[in-house]
């Protein structure tokens, strides 16, 4: 019995649509979670996201089975993998940080991405000779994982900027679950004796929104080496396939621009002279560069990476 036969009671696209419905349910519960502190609602939001991810994985497996290769060769497939990486990263971050203010924007972003993805051509095409390499299954997923982390960093930056704009410094994030980040003691209680059941240390000087700044940093600091390694792996592959590890191809060049953009972010952060708000804006600019790399160059359809052309 093959994997195909186990899940083939629905076809590939039906699994994608199921994943979308589950994502909508996750969005619904995550929006509800902002309004109520019921931990069951949090678990439901998380659970539906996990089910949506499983559903999309099944669709990718069925597609790969039909294509007879790992289905990661065109825009539709790469975006599906991007969504899956984002879902996985979100599920981990959600368990770790428990941030309702982050959950629903991520769900919304994923929903928009999936809705756009299913409008793209879904034909399965045979692979060109240059793409028939084990490098394809290494280079592309690593790059897309970095894109997923940068997208989450963007969402986190936007949440930070919105919270900063409306001065919601006293928001009680992390409700409803043990181990979540909790607010600091109010000013004036510094140095007071207090029970050890109360957290010893505040998240960031009584400003809960700063956790979003750190979340952005975490995503960028992991996304940066992944993008770098992805570019390097691409260079190794290019050297094997085309005889050049770097060709100043538009896709390569824009990836480097994106990398340098996030490099600026990390150096600004190390410098320590710049407020989180500036860093959040740099992260947003980095994401715009990422969009140009991912979509812009594909729309142009020029260069050595033209197989990713949209349409």
């Amino acid at each position: 019995m093959t994997i195909y036969s186990v899940f083939s009671f629905m076809n590939e696209m039906q699994w994608v649509h199921t994943g979308m419905v589950l994502l909508i349910l996750s969005l619904f519960f995550n929006v509800a979670r902002v309004l109520t502190k019921n931990s069951l609602i949090r678990e439901a939001g998380w659970g539906f996201m996990a089910l949506s991810m499983i559903s999309l994985i099944i669709s990718l497996v069925l597609r790969s089975e039909a294509a007879e290769y790992f289905a990661l060769s065109n825009m539709y497939e790469s975006m599906l993998v991007l969504i899956l990486w984002m879902q996985l990263a979100y599920l981990v971050l959600e368990r770790w940080l428990n941030l309702p203010g982050f959950a629903w924007p991520v769900c919304l972003m994923l929903l928009v991405m999936l809705a756009y993805d299913i409008t793209l051509p879904t034909d399965i095409n045979p692979l060109q000779a240059a793409l028939q390499s084990y490098w394809r299954s290494i280079h592309v997923p690593v790059i897309i994982l970095s894109y997923a982390l940068f997208t989450l960093a963007f969402v986190s930056s936007v949440v930070y900027l919105v919270k900063d704009r409306f001065h919601k410094n006293n928001e009680m994030d992390g409700s409803g679950g043990g181990g979540g980040l909790r607010p600091a003691l109010p000013d004036g209680l510094d140095g007071a004796l207090y029970s050890h059941e109360t957290p010893y240390l505040a998240v960031e000087d009584s400003q809960v929104r700063d956790i979003y700044d750190e979340l952005t940093y975490r995503c960028v600091s992991l996304g940066f080496p992944l993008l770098l390694i992805g570019i390097i792996l691409g260079g190794l592959w290019a050297n094997e396939a085309w005889g050049n590890y770097w060709s100043w191809d538009p896709k390569e060049s824009m990836s480097l621009v994106t990398l340098l953009g996030y490099g600026v972010y990390l150096h600004l952060r190390v410098n320590g002279e710049h407020p989180p708000k500036t860093l959040a804006w740099v992260s947003v600019i980095g994401f715009i560069l990422l969009l140009v790399t991912y979509f812009g160059v594909n729309i142009m359809g020029v260069g050595l990476h033209s197989y990713g052309k949209i349409g």
Partner: protein, 518 residues
């Protein structure tokens, strides 16, 4: 971030090595001061931004390596000369981009020297704060226990180790005339080395690229089965640098092509699945160095020389049999702009008279090639017979008699038996000498490891244990170089463990302000 009076460390290395002569030290110090602008992180940020902008221009503007210069000239009209003089059509080899790269190199070099020492010191050296310093630092927590100092230490160490801290015992110290025991607990020290490694890797990569530019070359060769060529005389030879400064050498090898074949997808005959060249490489003495089949993604590696399967293309030669006799046709003319072949097939029987030439029979072949002709899914030819002054079977409004033949097919046209054997396809080889590849790959590895190390953060605890009138008091100063919220989360798990292990008699005193940076 709040900061209080700086906390002095007990151990401090002398700023200048005593072995260095005073004059040299002064000279180096002056140079170092002079290089201050080069090693600034602000310059690094500006350079990264400028490089990103420069490359972005290279993406947006048409580049001469990728687009035909004539097309660019037509597109930009009167602005062409100005934009060209600014190097916007050749960004990556323009003077300003090169200047940016050189500046970036020096910034990295000087910056690495500046950051290396504090980073390595912080990662390797065990620095201890005095009990006084720990107690006065703002980012510290205090615990009081009924246990004796020795008992408290014996219970504290396993807790710290359980949380994966490396614990180091410090020198004896006194605070308020009482003996205090100092400890330094740390983890993630390796992460401090990460940026240095990454920068060192980038420097290595840049140097290796320069080495490759002076010694490497690329060559291209079209080759048909049975043919060979000498590596010193390929169709196209391109050293990586201008020949006046290029220092490389070309091996005196002979490369022969035994066979070449293309494999197509069964359900998509217009899409090549893979193409293969059977190569033999011999040295100057005729010794076979290698005999291997190469294909896309599977090049032949011989030392620092690599042979790539780059492309394939029809040469314009077509092999036929006309009435059983072999006939080679060549694209030699055109019909309404389309290249065709027109060759006399019975020239040997026709006398060179005007009458004979009028009766000459020629084979007119229209070739159709996959990937060159839109909609064509299989290489084939359409054959016409031209006799005397007209096409055989031609009539007003009627297509002359013709045959469509795929490779290997036979047909009959006006009494002639025509068999199309095959078109001649040449393999496109790319030959590259890249002596820098090993160093480039090593640099890649160093950069990757370095940047991955940067993901982690260094987490430090300084502890002082002292006997007081209220009992044994533990002071804990905590600090991290990044990701403070995550560290606070971790400490919120560690401190209750300490609380429990030490049987803390009263609630801990906590000062949540940030400690000054080391």
């Amino acid at each position: 971030m709040s900061a209080s009076a700086p906390v002095q460390q007990i151990s401090k290395t002398p700023p200048v090595s005593p072995a260095m002569p005073e004059g040299l030290a002064k000279f180096l110090s002056t140079c170092w001061q002079w290089l201050a602008c080069f090693r600034s992180i602000h310059l690094a940020i500006v350079l990264l931004s400028c490089l990103a902008l420069g490359i972005f221009i290279g993406v947006v503007m048409p580049q001469e390596g990728l687009v035909d210069p004539l097309e660019i000239k037509e597109q930009y009209g009167s602005n062409y000369r100005l934009l060209k003089s600014l190097g916007l059509f050749n960004v990556y080899s323009s003077y300003w981009f090169l200047a940016l790269e050189i500046l970036f190199f020096f910034n990295l070099l000087c910056g690495s020297f500046q950051w290396l020492r504090p980073a390595v010191t912080s990662a390797i050296q065990k620095n201890f704060y005095t009990a006084d310093q720990i107690q006065k630092a703002k980012n510290q927590v205090q615990f009081t226990t009924v246990l004796s100092p020795d008992e408290a230490i014996s219970r504290l160490k396993p807790v710290l180790k359980k949380h994966r801290f490396g614990v180091h015992t410090g020198p004896e110290n006194t605070f308020e005339n009482k003996e205090a025991k100092l400890f330094y607990a740390t983890k993630g020290n390796f992460s401090r080395i990460g940026p240095c490694l990454a920068h060192f890797g980038i420097l290595c990569m840049l140097l290796a690229s320069v080495y490759g530019a002076f010694t490497g070359f690329k060559a291209q060769q079209l080759l048909v089965p049975g043919q060979d060529f000498h590596l010193e005389k390929p169709d196209l030879f391109t050293p990586n640098m201008s020949t006046s400064v290029w220092q490389g050498s070309v091996p005196n090898w002979q490369v022969s092509l035994k066979d070449f074949r293309v494999e197509y997808y069964a359900d998509r005959p217009e899409t090549p699945k893979q193409f293969y060249s059977d190569l033999t490489v011999k040295d100057a003495d005729g010794n076979v160095l290698s005999e291997e089949t190469i294909s896309v993604n599977h090049p032949l590696q011989l030392g620092d020389m690599t042979f790539y399967q780059a492309s394939f293309t029809p040469t314009g030669k077509l092999f036929f049999e006309v009435d059983g006799k072999p006939q080679t046709m060549t694209i030699n003319t055109e019909f309404q702009g389309r290249p065709i072949s027109m060759t006399a097939v019975d020239a040997d029987t026709a006398a060179n008279t005007e009458k004979a030439s009028k009766e000459l029979t020629s084979l007119v072949v229209f070739p159709f090639f996959v990937q060159q002709d839109p909609g064509v899914t299989e290489n084939h030819v359409r054959v016409f017979l031209h006799q005397g002054e007209g096409f055989a079977g031609a009539a007003p409004g009627k297509m002359p008699d013709n045959l469509r033949l795929s490779p290997g097919e036979t047909g009959s046209l006006n009494g002639k038996t025509i068999r199309f054997l095959k078109p001649e396809i040449a393999t496109g080889l790319l030959i590259k000498k890249a002596p820098e590849v090993f160093w480039i790959y090593l640099s890649f590895l160093i950069i990757s490891i370095g940047t991955l190390m940067c993901v982690f953060s260094q987490r430090q605890l300084w502890l002082a244990i002292q006997s007081t009138t209220e009992g044994t008091r533990l002071y804990v100063l905590h600090r991290t170089n990044k990701a403070r919220a995550s560290y606070n989360r971790e400490l919120n798990k560690l401190f209750p463990s300490i609380h429990q292990a030490l049987q803390v008699s009263n609630n801990p005193l906590h000062n949540p302000k940030e400690a000054p940076a080391v």
